[in-house]
């Protein structure tokens, strides 16, 4: 059994890894405060995975009001996912927010005097800590096939955003949809993670050539059972791309209206849709 490991990256960031959890952590501020925060984070990190594993069967079961969870990360996961089950009547398990919830849980270690700003990137799901006057510029890459910075989202301390998450069918998690990427800004990383997953599921269209397979035939121990997940998306006609993005955008708008998210960027085959609220940081 391999325990958690950590390694400094040459640019001063840290890499924490334990089983399937990979974190890249960046923090700035007073050197001793940052070092102390990192040590606290490391101390907390080792307990995260065992606690999740202890409740894994429940975490892999659909969200219902009856679901009882003990661990703090598990509870964050369930809380982030519950609106999608309860308000929209959708299938979702707490696992949809696992990456974001882990990042949220650990970012708290950096919310202390002396740390100006920090982030924990858990495989694309990012939790932020910001003090007054600080901001993060988050680069947005709309097309992974031709990576270029399509814009930078400035998230300032006065904005309500502390979580950024991205989901898509080609990522490590499965998707029912065909989005290349859905990036969501929300109050915390768990909320962003759950919403990105569900919005990405809604970027969808039926077209020949799109291949789907039962999730449990692709991976063992999936929380999605035999539900069909996307395994291949051919180049689609522009009207199909448009239709799929419209479906996703319509759902993202409902999430915005209910205050579940603050902004969403949906991309599919080189086209994208951006939705945000008035008080959000604009795309610069």
């Amino acid at each position: 059994m391999n325990g958690p490991v950590r390694a400094p990256l040459p640019d001063g960031r840290w890499h924490f890894q334990h089983g399937p959890i990979d974190l890249v952590i960046g923090a700035e501020g007073d050197a001793s405060a940052v070092a102390a925060a990192l040590e606290d984070c490391w101390a907390a990190f080792g307990a995260v995975l065992p606690a999740l594993v202890a409740e894994l069967p429940q975490l892999r079961s659909p969200c219902t009001p009856a679901l009882r969870l003990r661990g703090p990360v598990a509870q964050t996961m369930a809380r982030a996912c519950a609106p999608f089950a309860e308000e929209f009547g959708l299938f979702i398990t707490p696992m949809a927010a696992v990456a974001g919830a882990v990042a949220d849980h650990l970012i708290r270690c950096f919310r202390r005097p002396g740390v100006a700003r920090a982030y924990i990137n858990n495989g694309g799901d990012i939790a932020l800590a910001l003090t007054d006057g600080q901001a993060f510029d988050i680069g947005v890459v709309a097309d992974i096939d031709a990576p270029r910075l399509d814009g930078a989202l400035r998230i300032a301390a006065r904005d309500p955003v502390r979580g950024v998450a991205t989901s898509g069918w080609r990522g490590r998690s499965f998707s029912f949809g065909i989005a290349d990427a859905v990036t969501v800004l929300a109050a915390d990383a768990a909320a962003a993670d759950a919403a990105a997953t569900i919005v990405a599921n809604h970027v969808n269209v039926d077209a020949p050539g799109i291949e789907r397979a039962p999730a449990d035939r692709l991976r063992d121990d999936t929380d999605l059972g035999s539900r069909l997940v996307t395994v291949r998306v051919p180049t689609l006609a522009p009207e199909l791309v448009h239709a799929a993005l419209e479906r996703g955008a319509a759902f993202a708008r409902r999430c915005l209206e209910r205050g579940l998210i603050h902004a969403a960027l949906l991309t599919l085959q080189g086209r994208s849709r951006m939705l945000d609220t008035q008080d959000m940081a604009a795309l610069t």
Binding site: M1, N2, P4, R6, P20, L49, P50, V53, D220
Partner: protein, 509 residues
């Protein structure tokens, strides 16, 4: 697994943590085809061919396997302490029995940082340094040699994979057709899908998987490094012994006395024994046969038929279709004619009747023996796959602060270049353009990044003083023992046909 960069990103050493309490218990019942991964508390039960939750560990052939460790290679007879965080006593390393390969090493692209591993070792008392990295190559391609006479497609034809243009048909060499597959033009110059499909094809070819290709206006092929090509569903078994003319030359004496005429059918050069110089040397009388096509030199004919997958790379199934007729002044009834392909796979024996019409007849044993010998002299038809890549840009910056010195050092044979331990041929001229046989590299040496580009291992080995002289990152040198003790690694046996890279080069003594 697509994204390899970053998985083991900069090869920094992981710090061992305090043991943690394991919360989950192994399951009591588990399906027989699964393995229990105990690498972390999740304890995934992984079916064969699948990955665990982390994408790092998988079930490969019933064995729990680390999917992305750095691959170390040991020479036969060397015992090495297992892996992980094992304590290392550093006793055996007088003659460097372990080589750290670039496979799984990660990369620092696109920056200027030192390569993931810069490894010191001693070989016969000489201090050596190996700079180990994985290159991300946009400028790279595969040159594929397909041993066949069959017509695969016209030169310059487009080769397609999953409907996308991924390369082209290039020259025919002796007994083989060459294809050029991949390359920056298809990776980044076309549509996004073309780039992705090309990248996928290249990774599969490099990792010795079978791929099905379609040549525009030509054949459908299945090619796999080190295996026989399959042309239009038919596995190729023999590489021709030579062109038709060469076959005449090789076997003329053995046919002499058993037949009066031999035609070796070949799409390139069909040979006719009695007209050929070899027949003349044996004082064979002319047979009066008239062959279709364009006469080149005596006994050698071009274009006797169309290219195809029939006899000798032509489209014919009846050999007599290339015989225009017989000169009645010269030909005589009872004349014995053998028609044979350049691989001996096709052969028929005829005797001219009273009207000078060839009639099929049982092949005499003595003739059959020579036909069989043609087959015996054909080498097995193979597909060979060579990776060609240019190591430029920041890859060299990972080796030295003064990259041109690395280039010079390689040209001066002070620095040896290997790819996954396999010897690389370095092209003359500018830059570091290498060519390597993928079958000499460890399994699964190739990866991809979404750019799209190919990830491939590359190692530079030189004497330590040479490394220092070319401005190397000497402060980042670590010992093999440190790599063994601290990096996630997988230890495999050295491929015995490859020269040991730590042995000094000609000028490196």
């Amino acid at each position: 697994m697509t994204e390899r960069v970053g998985s083991n990103a900069v090869g920094e050493r992981f710090e061992a943590a305090e043991p943690v309490v394991v919360a989950a218990k192994p399951p009591e019942k588990m399906a027989a085809n699964k393995v229990l991964c105990d690498a972390c508390p999740v304890l995934c039960q992984i079916s064969e061919g699948r990955l665990g939750a982390c994408d790092r560990w998988g079930n490969v052939g019933g064995k729990l396997t680390r999917m992305d460790p750095v691959v170390l290679m040991k020479r036969p007879g060397v015992e090495v302490i297992a892996s992980g965080h094992a304590q290392w006593n550093g006793e055996w390393l007088n003659d460097a029995p372990v080589f750290v390969s670039g496979v799984g090493s990660g990369t620092t692209y696109p920056d200027y940082k030192p390569a993931p591993f810069i490894v010191a070792s001693r070989h016969r008392g000489v201090d050596m340094v190996t700079v180990v990295t994985e290159g991300i190559f946009s400028y790279c391609s595969f040159k594929v040699k397909i041993d066949t006479d069959r017509y695969l497609g016209a030169e310059q034809s487009t080769v397609r994979y999953e409907g996308e243009a991924v390369g082209h048909v290039t020259t025919i060499e002796y007994g083989s057709q060459f294809l050029s597959l991949g390359g920056v033009h298809h990776l980044t110059g076309g549509s996004k899908r073309e780039g992705r499909v090309t990248c996928d094809l290249m990774q599969k070819l490099g990792n010795r998987e079978a791929v099905e290709l379609e040549i525009e206006g030509g054949a459908r092929l299945v090619v796999q490094a080190g295996r026989a090509p399959i042309v239009d569903g038919v596995p190729e078994s023999r590489m021709r012994v030579g062109c038709g003319s060469a076959t005449i030359g090789i076997f003329a004496k053995q046919w002499f006395g058993h037949v009066d005429e031999v035609v070796v059918v070949d799409d390139h050069i069909t040979g006719v024994l009695t007209e050929h110089q070899a027949g003349k040397c044996l004082d064979m009388p002319a047979s009066g046969i008239r062959i279709r096509g364009r006469k080149s030199t005596p006994g050698r004919y071009f274009q006797v038929a169309n290219p195809g997958t029939g006899w000798g790379g032509t489209d014919i199934t009846d050999p007599l279709s290339i015989v225009e007729g017989w000169d009645p002044q010269v030909a005589r009834p009872g004349l014995r004619l053998l028609m044979v392909s350049t691989t001996g796979e096709h052969a028929e024996y005829f005797v001219l009747d009273e009207k000078l019409q060839p009639q099929r007849a049982p092949m005499p044993e003595a003739v059959r023996k020579v036909v069989d010998r043609i087959g015996e002299n054909c080498e097995p038809a193979l597909t060979t796959v060579l990776f060609v890549a240019g190591a430029g840009g920041s890859l060299r910056a990972g080796v030295t602060e003064n990259p041109v010195r690395l280039t010079r050092s390689i040209k001066e044979l002070l620095t040896r270049v290997t790819c996954g331990g396999a010897p690389a041929y370095v092209w003359p001229g500018g830059g570091i353009t290498v060519m390597v046989d993928v079958t000499r590299m460890p399994e699964r040496s190739f990866g991809t990044v979404p750019t799209p580009a190919i990830v491939a291992p590359i190692e530079f080995t030189m004497r330590r003083d040479v490394y220092a002289a070319l401005g190397g990152h000497v402060d980042r040198i670590q010992s093999v023992e440190q790599v063994l003790a601290q990096a996630n690694h997988r230890l495999i046996d050295w491929l015995p046909d490859n020269p040991w890279p730590l042995a000094p080069l000609e000028n490196g003594e």
